[in-house]
Symmetry: none
Subunit: 223 residues, 4 copies
């Protein structure tokens, strides 16, 4: 993973070590973190079904049984991972967008940040996508969390006059979908190509839409 939010933080429902889900000792916390890290690599590379617990523990350098001290099942660690990643991704983007002067700048910065992040965390992309078929509720939570925040930001921007009025919820999901597919196409499938043109092209679409200027009525809206 990375350094922003260490895996030693608690995410998901661990078992074994203690009722609250958190290991009691430092050693325990470290082992749990190593397992999550190993699971991210394993599931990212092999996928959920091909991924094996035995391989996760091997990567983490612990015995098979140790896995079940911290997670009650393969699915549980997978869920913990998705929740963790949601936290990660949102944190990363939020930080990058923090000092954008207005919504449109934020859109651009956010899109760029997302694509960068996706490129650096290919495993994350795969795991989140696959969660749809492994733990659908975790997947929904992941994107619903995003969409809710996004929607609020768009609403506020409308109120401030930074963007045109419009259905914030639909816009949020539209822009998330747009970003995810660009991430898939240009960050995951073609990780070498420059992202600049992609961000430019997509931002142009987001900012101005497809309609030619000639067709535009200065006051907005059709006559």
């Amino acid at each position: 993973m990375n350094q922003h939010s260490p895996l030693s933080q608690n995410v998901g429902t661990a078992s074994g070590a203690d009722e609250s889900g958190l290991p009691k000792t430092r050693r325990g916390r470290e082992t749990r973190a190593r397992l999550l890290e190993a699971a991210a690599a394993e599931f990212g590379e092999r996928g959920y079904h091909e991924g094996a617990i035995a391989e996760i523990t091997r990567r983490a350098g612990v015995a098979m049984g140790t896995f079940y001290v911290y997670f009650s099942s393969k699915e549980e660690i997978f869920r913990a991972l998705v929740a963790h990643m949601s936290h990660e991704t949102r944190g990363y983007i939020a930080a990058k967008v923090a000092d954008a002067p207005d919504r449109l700048s934020a859109e651009r910065a956010g899109l760029q940040a997302f694509l960068e992040f996706a490129r650096q965390h290919t495993n994350l992309y795969r795991i989140v996508m696959e969660s749809q078929f492994v733990a659908e509720d975790a997947y929904r939570d992941y994107y619903t969390g995003f969409a809710d925040g996004y929607r609020r930001n768009l609403q506020r921007a409308v109120e401030r006059g930074e963007i045109r009025a419009g259905d914030a919820e639909v816009r949020a999901w539209s822009l998330i979908g747009l970003s995810v597919f660009l991430g898939m196409r240009y960050a995951v499938w073609e990780p070498q190509a420059p992202l600049g043109p992609v961000v430019d092209g997509a931002f142009d679409l987001i900012e101005r839409g497809l309609m030619p200027a000639a067709a535009m009525v200065p006051s907005g809206g059709r006559p």
Copy 2:
């Protein structure tokens, strides 16, 4: 599935009764079609990994061994399904968009058609999405096919002055992603809510973007 393009047609790389891929007899063709239909239901409801061949044959009313007369593996029938669905979806949308007067009208009609179709074929949505983790090349082919056609249409529209100039490839993937996520959110997850507002909201975004009219410079316009 549905009535538009019966599964008894050959799609994908089916093997079995005959070299060309299609069973010779009517009976054979019907059995194959029943298996595909059963597989669509099974994979749509249970997913690829949870879905079982035994259950597919049970649904189709044939013995287990019969499956392998028509398909050489679980993956093969899944691929056949994805290919079939690609064909279906594109056909449906193409028909709905056929007589749109210009690109923007086509965008609106296409989005609407896609969401309608998704709502009526929830299984299809799931199967296509999951193909990403089962037969990645089929998944890529599916969306690349879409994107290529889309890109050409957008390019032509630019040439005709129906839409603003811009990166057609990036736009195509952006708009596909946007549609897919709206389909997931409003057709699959919430199949009851009215689609009208969703189409309106999304089309407004596609047509005009987020930028307020006040801020608009008559792009490349009069001096």
Copy 3:
């Protein structure tokens, strides 16, 4: 097992082969019977928990997976075994008792038959006993089935004046317990010692009780 009621009869709820639980073909029925026979040996010798499915299939000469064509779990075959054995035991005893002229003769013959049977089917004894801790309802059914029949016989005997009046239910359970423990002690634990004296001693107790004749009032009952 033995020849009285072949294991190819259906007992318990098989899965796999068909919804009713019965294999469709002769070959299937034979395999299922071989598995039950192997399970009786394995569980009888090693006990339920030590007994291994792999060993059962090895004894039966089939592959591991074949087990699950006929039984859905280790517990299920165990239950099937208990049910089968109930049938077996009752059949054996019923046959031996069939032509006893009256209830007391039947008691003697039944006790003798039970002890003989227990000695020849040590595995059965263990399996039935252990079912108490593996499938308690199967165990209860086993003995409740016995007790119900026994009770009816005792009642009828009272009506006919063959035995003294008394609580048939309590007597049935008392006599079953008496027999089971004698079986354990003299058939299972000490399989070589002659059974004659045991039957004599126990029957004397059953027939006449402990009370000395001197204390007896001719008409029965205490004054």
Copy 4:
């Protein structure tokens, strides 16, 4: 357990804190007792195989490792429990039978005491029964101990003319089996029903047997 003979007493082959088998300190003795009590509950409710050390320590409020300070294995604590219970049961019955004027009264009182005790210690019943499959020697010892005492009492009673002559060993095992099954049926399975009729019915059988008075020959009596 109960208050008659606290588990903090040493019974069985406990090891741990000290060579003699008993912890030296008061704290140690208390912990050991808590573990035994927890084990009785756990094994009684879940059975030996389903019962888990982790759950025993949880119930006892100590850490897993602490278990092995007092007992060297799961089986050992189980054996300790069986031994303890043997002591308990015999003590209870002996006390209740102590002032019976003759053997037949003692039989009645003993049966009654046993059923009462079984009803109050359902866990005990289960644990003793299951020991057959966990620690067969402990089980044999348990019942052989009973049977030996019982046999001696019966022999003495015969000598005193309190009961008819007869094979004391066979009678002892018969009466134990009778009691155990009545305990199972009327104390464990149906703990609400009144015990009076059960005791009456069984004692009537024990005292006088099944044979009608009419059929009685003044056994060896006057010519």
